[in-house]
Point group: C2
């Protein structure tokens, strides 16, 4: 509990103006003053300092139908660059992202050794190569964030558990930061993806959004009032380990009947292996389309539980926008359509018209964009002009 | 997005000082200045105006072991009184609550007609009677809030759905306000109960808390960063209608296998009626304790699903405190202990040490206390000294 003094106020106002330009550009000086309820003098002063720092630019645009021009402000997209990365079970994805979320360049590198130090070296080398081969050496790179699945204590940079990599209490941010020589943050991949979707899809502006990911696991993430909902330890959204049937299938966590045992890739392939020698989701979906009985049974059950997941996330969180994502949704349109049809059948009626349902627009780049944007947001919030 | 000006700042600082006195009293002027990072002059000025309004009092307390006295500030408990009410299926509960949450007087009245206008009359008459018979006529009563189960759009005062009363889109706040002649707010009963628990249990200070209610329905409520989590329409926490078994028991909502069909009173009694002529939970629990097979089977299943509910709420929300409440928990200690034992068995291991589990301390007064406190909080936040 702090009383706000003049200095805090000044910084907050500077961040606010930059945020406004980021979200509303092109925007005029008069509009900035109006929207922020600031005097024209104060608005001019702050805008001038942001310009001097090279964070924003002035553009001359037609302000009416008569060809008269007026000055507007826009962020300088190349003035602030951040790096977003995502670690998935066999690949590392790295992207350099400009101010406002434009992906400048992206690389994917395969790895075989998931030792965190080896991964730090790989990340470092790739980032260095990308800076040099893309001529980004003279740019202001404000930081880097790495997303991965699991229980990620983002404040302290610790991986409490990431089942996909068999990591338990790995101080990953520290290991990466030591290699890079500057602070690197880590976060849960689905939370970052949700954050990117919220910030880059104009239809989601001011929405309270839930993202559901159906992929190697099942998870949910919320962006409410523009902020990622994290829970106490950043462990929220672990809906994959909510139990739906205490007499169901054993889960890798040691429990019985976790929701993910009905939906996620690994379990579907385990079930399929009892009836067939297929080893991939592509083959499973192909068998489903070919109406092979075992595939139809396995996937119909998965579709029902995915639909249940959508209902349950809405009942618990009451978002007004729901975004479906993950391999199961993005790669297989037939499955996606069936999930959407089924959830409409199962949805609790009183909440029918309380939200819009959408499919992710960001595809495989969601997490790296969200990671990079989270770094930029920190930069803007802590701006000290 | 508003730039803060001096006036907003002044009001915020006044509210902050009063909040500090409410949460930390007795507190000295020096401590107020220190905690708020305010100058002693500003602190004195604000404290003086709060005193003048009669909201706080000065007390002289020993400040060391030597018997020396110093001045401290405490809220004047009788300076701000608010009214909290709860509508349950057969009763209306009304309480007058002093500043800081002390229940001054409480009444329960039975009703038979659940027409909202009839209920407004009953509420009005009871409140009037309570004011007169308790000599509260000359007190500053700052407002009233009414809690009830269901989907309550608290911002507009509309009951979207309250299944217990068969109310659909009833503008309840307006109906009550017209009778009383001043604004009355309405809210979801479990959210208010959680708010009271958070504010009145010192062990919950600064906790991120989930409350789970097992009673006529099953619901959850969150208080995060001191605020009730509401979702978009105040409909969050409807975990009772999350589906756990698409091939389970029909729910009153028209779906199959909603979580509440395994736990809540009505469904347990429905199941019991197939094997016995009992009609109350007391009788069901008695039969369970008498080891009657049907009762043991029904309640063991309910205990398992209650335990699952606890796991699921924690997986999704990641609170660091969980408070169990509701008739099932409060009235039947044997059932409560079995639920707690079972959830320990079922809990997802990685989140084992991330929270404390507690049982509600407020009993049947939780909702009226929360309702009254929510009114006081609004008063303090919007203080205009």
């Amino acid at each position: 509990m702090h009383i706000k003094n003049q200095e805090t106020l000044k910084k907050e106002n500077q961040s606010l103006v930059l945020e406004l330009i980021l979200s509303e550009s092109p925007i005029s000086r008069a509009e900035i003053a109006k929207r922020t309820k600031m005097s024209p003098t104060s608005a001019s002063r702050i805008v001038a300092s942001l310009k001097e720092l090279g964070l924003i630019r002035e553009v001359s645009l037609s302000s009416d139908g008569l060809g008269r021009k007026a000055l507007y402000f826009i962020p300088d997209e190349m003035s602030v660059i951040s790096i977003g990365a995502e670690i998935t079970p066999h690949d590392v994805h790295i992207g350099f992202v400009g101010f406002k979320g434009k992906l400048i360049v992206k690389e994917t590198v395969k790895y075989s050794d998931n030792d965190p130090h080896a991964m730090a070296n790989l990340l470092y080398q790739t980032v260095e190569d990308m800076i040099h081969s893309n001529g980004l050496g003279n740019k202001k790179i404000v930081g880097m964030c790495v997303g991965l699945p699991g229980l990620i204590e983002h404040k302290v940079g610790n991986v409490r558990l990431s089942a996909q990599f068999d990591w338990h209490d790995v101080p990953l941010a520290k290991i990466f930061s030591e290699k890079f020589g500057f602070g690197i943050s880590i976060d849960n991949a689905l939370k970052l993806r949700a954050f990117a979707e919220y910030n880059l899809d104009e239809e989601l502006v001011n929405k309270n959004m839930a993202m559901i990911g159906f992929g190697t696991g099942v998870g949910s993430a919320l962006v409410f009032d523009g902020e990622i909902y994290r829970g106490e330890n950043n462990f929220s959204g672990e809906i994959g380990h909510s139990i739906v049937d205490p007499y169901g299938i054993a889960c890798t966590c040691g429990n019985i009947g976790c929701l993910q045992t009905y939906i996620s890739e690994r379990f579907l392939l385990d079930e399929a292996s009892k009836c067939s020698d297929i080893t991939t989701m592509d083959e499973l979906v192909e068998a489903y389309l070919g109406e092979e009985k075992w595939a139809v049974n396995i996937l119909n059950k998965a579709i029902t539980y995915a639909a249940i997941t959508i209902n349950n996330v809405i009942c618990v969180n009451n978002p007004n926008a729901v975004v479906l994502s993950g391999k199961f949704i993005v790669n297989y349109s037939v499955i996606r359509e069936k999930i959407i049809a089924k959830y409409q059948e199962l949805l609790w009626s009183p909440i029918e018209n309380t939200f819009d349902l959408k499919v992710t627009r960001l595809g495989s780049e969601g997490t790296i964009l969200g990671a990079a944007l989270s770094v930029q947001r920190y930069f803007v919030k802590n701006l000290d002009v």
